[in-house]
Symmetry: C2
Subunit: 491 residues, 2 copies
Amino acid sequence: MTQAGFYPPTLYNATEAAPQEQLALVKVQVDRCSGKYPSLDDDESYSLKIPTPEQSTKATIKAKSVWGALRGMETLSQLVYTTRAGALVIGSLPVDITDKPAYAHRGLMLDTSRNFFPVADIKRTLDAMSYNKLNVFHWHIVDAQSWPIESKFMPELYQKGAYSPSMTYSHREVKDIIQYARVRGIRVIPEFDMPGHVSVVNHVLPQIMTCVNEQPGWDAFAAEPPSGQFNPLLEDTYKFVKKIIDEYSGLFRDDYFHTGTDEVNTHCWETTQSIQQFLTANKKKAGELVDMFLGRAHKFLTDNKKLPMVWEEAILDFNATLSKEAVVQVWRSAENVQKVVAKGHKVLANSYEYWYLDCGHGTWLGNNPEGNSWCDPFKHWQRVYSYDPIANITSPAEQKLVIGGDVCLWAEQTDTNNLDNVLWPRAAAAAEVLWSGKEANGKPLTVKDALVRIQDQRFRLVARGIKAEPLQPLWCARNPGMCDLPPKAPE
Amino acid sequence: MTQAGFYPPTLYNATEAAPQEQLALVKVQVDRCSGKYPSLDDDESYSLKIPTPEQSTKATIKAKSVWGALRGMETLSQLVYTTRAGALVIGSLPVDITDKPAYAHRGLMLDTSRNFFPVADIKRTLDAMSYNKLNVFHWHIVDAQSWPIESKFMPELYQKGAYSPSMTYSHREVKDIIQYARVRGIRVIPEFDMPGHVSVVNHVLPQIMTCVNEQPGWDAFAAEPPSGQFNPLLEDTYKFVKKIIDEYSGLFRDDYFHTGTDEVNTHCWETTQSIQQFLTANKKKAGELVDMFLGRAHKFLTDNKKLPMVWEEAILDFNATLSKEAVVQVWRSAENVQKVVAKGHKVLANSYEYWYLDCGHGTWLGNNPEGNSWCDPFKHWQRVYSYDPIANITSPAEQKLVIGGDVCLWAEQTDTNNLDNVLWPRAAAAAEVLWSGKEANGKPLTVKDALVRIQDQRFRLVARGIKAEPLQPLWCARNPGMCDLPPKAPE
């Protein structure tokens, strides 16, 4: 399994042990088979016991659910090292682990609209997620730039909206991805971002669109080009939204369905004549239309027995009415997590300042001699690791509302050529925060100690086919502590 | 040749042309076959003429040297686009190009010591260099952490100093790499960095070493761990240096041989008792030993008919005496280029602030909760492109001393898993600066215009097997100008 030269580094200097008694059996005991698909309420706890050879040659994993058993097996795999001589060994026995996740929602968000990723990339990402006990694939499928997913009710959506006929996901492929994720204990939550970020729909239904691809000066109408939002006053808009939600609620199996609602541009609506007239006549502000839009869109979700997930703007900027079960995803600052829990909603905490893995390679906008981007700098693994989803939230009840977060990859500057590098091993640092929280045995988890774990994990990822970036020279990986920053470094 | 979906984007919206007369022949005419290996003095100019179909079906490339002809053929390949229907077309005819490089030395530096790169990675990098008319592979082969290259005179150097038996370059492989580079018009300049950055030699010759792997507090003795420098007072040191230079002067064929001399640590020598006694007895300062060391080392180069190349510290920090032919490589600031040309030396200009492609992914040092690195931030392509090797140098004579530069990759956080992503397409931005300079037809070349070229070039690189990072969403690539930063963007 291990590639040449990719010995797990912390064992590199270990003395080759004499042959030991072998582990003959790993008994996996699951209390009950939970639902067919993993869900937010799953119990993923497990215990793992490996006795000394003198005691027994039988290890035991016990879990409440099959998903917990999967986590236990992953932990077991991380205890096994390949020595230089090729022997498989477990470092120190006996092992007695009782473990459970700090957060129920441990996600990775991938944007497949700005650039396209083949199914093989998504499956490999699901593999890597499972190696890191991540359990939600938040699939930001469509956006302003392209519509890669097949639609049965309106095939032109992807026939005209995908970048090319080969850059699409058929229903069959999506079902395959969901199944692939399921057996790894990973939920797949689709996001159909609306009413903004939908410029691509203009290929098919220009009549329900406003402010499409305004040029030049797109920035007055959208967060990024091409601009374009649904007209929230037209019945045809809701007919379309209902069709979308009906079709993809059937295809995707998770309880949750993400309707986006980030970066809705009120200027776009205010400068659309018919909308402007409506606002004047009814003494309303454009922002109020978001609540109206979401109210109707989320009714379609309820009709499909789905629970809503939205970005933070829905509630923080537009004060939209959301059902109690709604999950609100915070991205604009770590502080906004507090604001959302104060309103009593469940929260996914993933501030761009920590968990936007795309940041830091400069702007993708043209004609910018400085080349800088709003979300610079790069979020190195230490920064990713330093994030605390419940920072500054002291009330246990409010802490409980923070159900987890997504490490996010917006794909403006990522495609199949660099996907693994951008995600890994940094997403593993987020995964550790989501599984272990920020302390162990009452002491804060530190970057110093995390390096050894994440470094080892990076070598495991490479050995398992994930092109994860190296964190250090191999010399440092093999000599833990010898490349530490000295206490009073001159730089 | 083009991958699915990787149409050269600027032609994406072009109307499919009706079948045209075909180009029947490309005549390549070379005045004289220059030396067997490319060299600094080569004339790489060429002309390329492609008539209209009405005029003729014969294109012509004329060059003074075979290397110039190679550059002309590369240009020709860049004029050919694959349409969506699969036809190969040339955008507009007639073509009449007369071209030559702005700089004679257009290099790419790769460090193969901090992390190892298989031969296939190096060959693929040479391929990509040739696609971008880069003509020097500066091979930073060994450093403190590992010694991957075979040595005939002292096999233990790589037997003990390489990371593993498979992470080595045999003489046969090096010859193969040099030949592979030669037929692409690329020189291979080896660097054996000394007298610092040699900790790895301690495995074999501890008797010639000082301050080896000082822990903790390595930072007082070296720029990075493990510390270790040659003892410049011992005859055994010079015997070893002579053997190294003799062996590798024979193996490598270029006129130049790089002896490093960056980041020599005087404290290391000052705290070595025997050296301290010598300095006191002779009323010398430790820095003066660099001049002494280099004087002897470069004598061995002369004996082997090699010309010296060194990093800037040799002359700017230690005022070493260098031969007139020596090339001094500047890395610590753009301004230092001026200081070196003022001393009358040839210069390679590659300030880390612009052309260190490894910067910006945070520190690789452990135990740094902040995670920042001295060479942050990331050098995005716009930054790379903005570098002017002759900035603020007004005298034509001094400008002429700037013979080019190397876009550099130090490999602390790069290995085979992310090599292509880190190098490309940013190295293509440096390559354009080195080939075209900073202006065309008396007007400055701009980032706005460069985007279209470098974007197209990135798609060509991907189509030719190089995993180059995307610069933009595919939508932007296909709609040039529509993703430009608006004149007064709010962010």
